[in-house]
């Protein structure tokens, strides 16, 4: 099998993993709130692909994942497109420059990505929606923490795919 032959199955598998996470997020986990919050898995998938594959593939995957999420979730979620693109981009960029491709490194990337999303949500709600700081802060914190609990699972899923196609390359 040539490198080009493996590229398509690998990205199709990544896409399938993303759809699995999306289905879990939308249809199963949304019935089990923790501290009143629900987890977000889509940004973790963009972070995982950026982390494992590098900045450019990560940003393109983030863009596609963000576009799909924005269209599926309906009005008010358009910012997911550029947010996920940036997450894929920066996770891929930092893994080569600042941190190694280790599990701890991914946790750092996932935590940073969630902090970025929750920080943005916080700013938008405080300054544009004029909402009270207390409830918004506690909801953002709860959502970020709850989502972070799933980061090892998402990492394992994507790492498994990455390793499988990478080890295929070695033969």
């Amino acid at each position: 099998m040539t490198n080009t032959d493996r590229t398509l199955p690998k990205w199709l598998t990544y896409s399938a993993a993303f759809f699995l996470c999306f289905f879990l997020e939308r249809c199963i986990l949304n019935r089990f709130p923790l501290w009143g919050a629900l987890p977000m898995l889509a940004p973790l998938t963009a972070a995982a692909v950026g982390f494992l594959e590098g900045a450019f593939p990560g940003s393109v995957f983030g863009l596609a994942a963000g576009l799909f999420s924005a269209l599926a979730l309906g009005p008010g979620h358009a910012r997911l497109i550029w947010c996920n693109t940036l997450i894929g981009l920066f996770c891929g960029a930092t893994v080569n420059k600042a941190i190694g491709r280790t599990f701890h490194g991914y946790l750092l990337c996932a935590g940073g990505s969630l902090a970025f999303l929750e920080g943005l949500e916080l700013l938008l709600r405080l300054f544009f929606d004029d909402q009270a700081a207390g409830p918004v802060l506690s909801m953002a914190g709860a959502e970020g923490l709850y989502s972070f609990l799933f980061s090892p699972l998402v990492y394992l899923l994507f790492w498994h795919i990455y390793r499988r196609f990478r080890s295929d390359l070695e033969f």
Binding site: P33, L73, G74, A93, P135
Partner: protein, 278 residues
């Protein structure tokens, strides 16, 4: 990093920003984007499977953990039924008297005509910042944005926010963006039912804009007021739990416990059309 940006990064970011703009404008122009509609239709069987699996799991869990509480609840309900039967007998007598007096005064009877569409609940909230349900009926069944959704007991569940072909998203009474005219009984005070982000995780909402002299007390019933004619009047929203002053002290607000058990809903009714005859 700099090299990457120079080569590809800027292009990807520009594409992302352009797509964000296109999707935002598209969302503003179209009530439901064609892709969201298609995804909603395609996701319907998956949502149904997810709902069936999680409902079964929740049922088993509840049976194991809430059996004692359920027995107590049955005993309470038996007492409540007995009390309500007595009230019903009194109400029947009052109804007959009311009818007789209306005939004497030649008044027309006030009645509400609702056109219903039953729907199954196939999905729950998708973000932490809102409280929504997905139901199995959409524009193909005459459901449209702004329609009220109630339980079989007539308790208000929420309002249709988005209507796809065979699915709709309902913003529940807990959703922070909901705003419905409401009236408290027995005081008859008007207020606005609003969702509140701080109360949403507790399964409560608030009745805002009550006057500082409000005499509302815990236990009072709150119904839709029907002011403005957008929503029908008389739909039970919930019961007052606490009444307090706003930080400015100029107004009061009440915390409400919704009458509908939003976490356990399996079937709801959409009011597609209504007419209140005075």
């Amino acid at each position: 990093m700099r090299e990457f940006f120079r080569k590809n990064g800027i292009v990807v970011i520009i594409v992302a920003l352009l797509l964000t703009a296109v999707v935002s404008i598209g969302s503003a122009l179209l009530p439901v984007s064609p892709l969201a509609n298609a995804l909603g239709v395609l996701a319907t069987p998956f949502r149904a499977v997810g709902t069936a699996v999680t409902s079964w799991g929740q049922g088993v869990y509840r049976y194991a953990t809430e059996y004692g509480a359920l027995q107590q609840r049955v005993a309470e309900l038996e007492l409540q039924v007995a009390r309500m039967e007595q009230e019903n007998r009194q109400a029947n007598a009052a109804l007959r008297e009311n009818e007789r007096l209306r005939q004497l005064l030649e008044l027309r009877e006030k009645r509400s005509d609702f056109v219903f569409e039953s729907a199954a609940v196939t999905g729950r909230t998708v973000t932490s910042w809102s409280s929504t349900l997905t139901i199995s009926k959409g524009t193909a069944h005459g459901v449209s944005e702004g329609d009220c959704v109630i339980t079989e007991a007539g308790y208000l569940v929420g309002v249709v926010r988005e209507a796809g072909l065979n699915w709709s998203t309902v913003a529940t009474v807990l959703d922070p963006d909901i705003s419905i005219g409401a009236r408290a009984f027995p005081t008859g005070e008007d207020g606005i039912l609003e969702g509140d982000l701080a109360l949403m995780p507790e399964g409560k909402c608030r009745l805002s804009y009550l006057s500082a002299q409000s005499e509302l007390e815990p236990g009072a019933e709150v119904l839709t007021s029907g002011m403005g004619g957008i929503y029908p009047s008389g739909l039970a929203i919930g019961t007052v739990e606490t009444v307090d002053y706003t930080p400015s002290g100029a107004e009061r607000y009440a915390v409400l416990k919704p009458s509908a058990e939003l976490n356990r809903l399996e079937e709801v009714f959409v009011i597609k059309d209504f007419e209140i005859v005075e």
